[in-house]
């Protein structure tokens, strides 16, 4: 297996609550960004709400990164209290450096046993030698230096984050960090720093989702908190208001989805965000939006299921619920961002699709994408904008659910004279009267299916990279991992591979997929769930080559690029 490219540096900072490892990780990422590096950071926590063990997992790189590396170059433990509870997320090996404070407990066997180089750093003592000095600042200076970050970048990051606490606190923190820097001797690959690059963004998937929503024209959001989606709603609350919209906290998810439908019925593009358990509650409401032809966007930041599952970890196991969960024949749209940055586009596109087709769109994000903070290139605004076909010139024979060529009927907004109708979950005639007739049901079913199936999704249904006869199909955060894995493969193998990262999961795109699979002899579907949900779906709905494989496993064990690269190599040789 090829070694990882020397342009990436991964650090894990571990410590009990109060030591501030997450804050140090944030600053490390910010300092790296200032130096022109890209990066990604996630947080790992133990079972305690406060005080328990916590880790900042940071990856810095000279090119954009959208997933964690196979292992950590440096694991720094401010202490090792209960470390065994989160060490599963942190892989180190003989090439890694483990930094420990001799005043604390010993490095756990599971870590020292890997053969990693153990270095001692008297973090607590160094911190104490500075009035107001903190141990996480010493740690920050040390690892920042190992990463090759210049002193002033680190100082600047500290300044920015701690300025609110006053001059003295900033000074003390910088002094403590410098003590850490002074102790660091480099013997890990350091990064080539590019002072030149400015204008990059630091953003999380959840915030990117919020941005996409506002750019797409959402002006009403209904909110009920749930891990790991709450940040979308908390980010939107003040910003929607400033944009002339509003966010209303609902009493539960049943209320949220129905509030969104109500606001949309009134003409305002609407959204709500939740996770698996909330999606299950919203399913009936989404079905109502299908039948009554009301546009809404429901973001589901997937976590490990089923039921309450593991709320703080990612999985891609709500595919079936999103695609099949509605009772009846209920055509709707399901999209999934393929990375943190892609949350902006995909959410904006979801709003556009919902408004254009007058149907609900489910956006399947996941906890990894949602809560990862990345340094990325600026995400440009694009000119997708919600366009609902409105009925303005209303004649006497106006019908709300009129049969049109594209299946999309002009929609009168309340306040439009002559357009009065009663939206309904009951099956109805074209004139929006409740109807139990065979003809009306068939006509409306066809119409609702047709408007979605025949809509022009353009090139956005999937990102297709490469042009080989061996194809990989994936979606969501897994797609990002595969993309990096491909970069690690030798050129001759990479040339034989084609990656299809699906963004539009529903409706099926037979023609587009056929074109994408033209010349493809073998296919593998890679995803993060127990039962191969996308794999089964593709087999049911698409014409695939005879030779189809599946690689799937459930969360919380996210795929890593190295293992994917190894598996693809193996698979291609079969």
């Amino acid at each position: 297996m090829t070694d990882r490219p020397g342009h990436s540096f991964s650090v894990a900072l571990l410590g009990k609550g109060g030591t501030g490892v997450v804050t140090a990780g944030d600053m490390l990422l910010a300092a790296a960004a200032r130096c022109g590096l890209y990066g990604l950071m996630i947080r790992a926590v133990g079972p305690q709400i406060r005080g328990g063990e916590s880790a900042a997992l940071v990856r810095l790189s000279t090119s954009p990164v959208n997933c964690l590396d196979d292992r950590f170059d440096v694991l720094l433990g401010i202490d090792w209290k209960h470390a065994e509870r989160i060490i599963g997320d942190i892989t180190v090996n003989a090439d890694s450096v483990v930094v420990t404070d001799p005043a604390e407990d010993e490095v756990p066997q599971s870590i020292s046993g890997t053969g990693a180089e153990i270095r001692e750093l008297e973090m607590a003592a160094l911190a104490e030698s500075v009035t107001g000095g903190r141990v996480n600042m010493v740690a920050l200076g040390y690892v920042g230096c190992l990463a090759g970050l210049p002193e002033d970048a680190i100082s600047h990051a500290i300044e920015k984050k701690i300025a609110v606490k006053g001059r003295a606190a900033v000074e003390a923190s910088i002094v403590a960090a410098k003590l850490g820097m002074a102790s660091a001797t480099s013997a890990v690959p350091t990064l080539a720093v590019n002072e030149d690059a400015g204008g990059r963004w630091m953003i999380s998937g959840n915030h990117a989702t919020g941005l996409g929503a506002i750019r797409g024209g959402v002006r009403f959001a209904a909110a009920y908190p749930i891990t790991p989606a709450t940040e979308i709603l908390e980010w939107l609350a003040p910003r929607l208001r400033d944009a002339g919209g509003t966010l209303t906290q609902a009493e539960d998810e049943l209320a949220s989805v129905n509030m969104a439908i109500g606001a949309s019925f009134g003409g305002v593009p609407s959204l709500t965000a939740t996770s698996g358990p909330g999606l299950s509650l919203m399913i009936e409401g989404i079905g109502l939006a299908v039948c009554a032809e009301i546009p809404i966007v429901v973001v589901n930041v997937m976590r490990v299921g089923p039921s309450t599952g593991i709320p703080t970890k990612p999985e891609q196991s709500d595919f079936n619920a999103a695609v099949y969960g509605l009772h009846g024949d209920a055509p709707h749209i399901v999209v999934a961002p393929t990375s943190v940055s892609d949350c902006v586009f995909t959410t904006q596109w979801a709003v556009h699709l919902a408004e254009a087709t007058q149907a609900p769109v489910i956006v399947l994000s996941d906890q990894f994408i949602g809560q990862a903070n990345i340094v990325a290139d600026p995400i440009p605004a694009i000119s997708f904008f919600a366009k609902r076909k409105l009925a303005e010139d209303i004649g006497a024979d106006f019908e709300r659910h009129a049969i049109t060529a594209d299946g999309i009927s002009p929609m009168p907004l309340p306040g439009t004279r002559g357009g009065q109708y009663t939206g309904d979950g009951l099956e109805h005639s074209a004139a929006a009267k409740p109807s139990g007739s065979i003809e009306d049901h068939n006509v409306q079913l066809d119409k609702r299916a047709r408007k979605i199936a025949n809509f022009d999704y353009g090139q956005h249904w999937a990102d297709i990279e490469g042009d080989g006869e061996l194809a990989i199909v994936s979606w969501g955060s897994t797609a990002s991992v595969i993309r990096e894995a491909l970069q690690r493969l030798p050129d001759d193998l990479a040339a034989r591979l084609k990656l299809i990262s699906m963004r539009l999961l529903l409706p099926v795109r037979q023609d587009e997929m056929a074109a994408a699979l033209d010349g493809v002899k073998r296919l593998i579907v890679i995803e993060q769930n127990h039962t191969g949900q996308l794999y089964r779906f593709l087999r049911g709905w698409y014409d695939l080559p005879a030779d189809v494989d599946t690689l799937h496993r459930p969360g919380p064990d996210v795929f890593r690029p190295g293992e994917i690269a190894a598996k693809l190599t193996q698979w291609s040789e079969r």
Partner: protein, 277 residues
């Protein structure tokens, strides 16, 4: 019953030993202590108790008790408990959760559990915030409490749980304060013993998101009068409640919900014969 004389079971015998995830300083630690003491005074066998909860910090309680328990889904502890009590009227069923779980998503179920007067005890640990999801307003949060989800406050009047419970038909309505372990223990013991739906709101400060609630221990006080058995009188009293009266408001005598699974056949039926032409 004594707390120290040789009992078959002590309060500590009702603890499972699982370490709570709660932040040190959380009022729920005291509630856990009060629950174990209350059950100890009643000398209930742990295997005959079922503690049902929803989702949230306080809903983690069942795992910390050495009884049967069910950590259900958000807001649905009461229906779960109702189903269990109807199926197994012999069990002592205790429902537990927070103000978000119980009054927001669970609000509808509260109305109907009171209305049915199902013979269970419902303990709501009220900290006027959604703690687990990091600080959103709950139905009992003051309208001007600033949060990220509702900047500047919700502007919406808080829910008054005792009023709702009383108006919906609960047979026992009380408020306690987590820091008053002695009083809470007594109220819980009475609640569990009282037939029908017993509702106890326990003010339980959230040390992480509501440090202002440290003041509660100076604000709580016994009510000016003893409990009443007259619902109308209770209604009048509760309308002037300052939110810090600690004690039993009302003990009613409505019949409890009658339906239950009997294990003896009560009427012989030949079901096949019904369909015979």
């Amino acid at each position: 019953m004594s707390a120290v004389a040789p009992c078959k079971l002590k309060a500590s015998d009702y603890k499972s030993g699982t370490k709570p995830v709660w932040c040190p300083g959380c009022g729920d630690y005291h509630v856990l202590a009060s629950v174990t003491k209350a059950i100890a005074t009643l000398q209930l066998a742990p295997e005959n108790i079922a503690v049902i909860s929803g989702i949230g910090c306080s809903s983690r309680l069942p795992a910390y008790l050495n009884s049967y328990g069910f950590h259900g889904i958000h807001g649905r502890a009461l229906p779960l408990a109702t189903g269990l009590k109807v199926a197994r009227p012999d069990l002592t069923v205790i429902c537990a959760g927070g103000d978000g779980d119980g009054f927001s998503i669970g609000g509808n179920h509260l109305l109907h559990a009171c209305r049915r007067n199902i013979d269970i005890t419902y303990i709501v640990m009220d900290n006027e915030i959604y703690g687990m999801t990091k600080g959103q307003p709950s139905p009992t949060t003051a309208p001007d409490w600033d949060t990220d989800l509702a900047p500047g406050g919700t502007g919406v009047s808080p829910f008054h749980p005792l009023v709702i419970a009383l108006a919906s038909g609960a047979n026992f309505v009380a408020r306690a304060f987590s820091g008053d372990v002695k009083g809470t223990t007594k109220t819980l013991a009475e609640a569990i013993s009282h037939p029908g739906f017993s509702f106890v709101q326990i003010l339980s400060p959230c040390v992480t998101f509501r440090p202002d609630q440290r003041e509660w221990k100076t604000k709580v006080h016994p009510p000016p009068v003893e409990f009443t058995t007259n619902a109308a009188q209770a209604a009048r009293r509760v309308m002037t409640d300052d939110g810090f009266n600690i004690g039993v408001l009302y003990k009613g005598s409505r019949g409890k919900y009658r339906q239950s699974v009997e294990h003896d056949v009560t009427v012989e039926r030949d079901l096949d014969r019904e369909f015979l032409i």
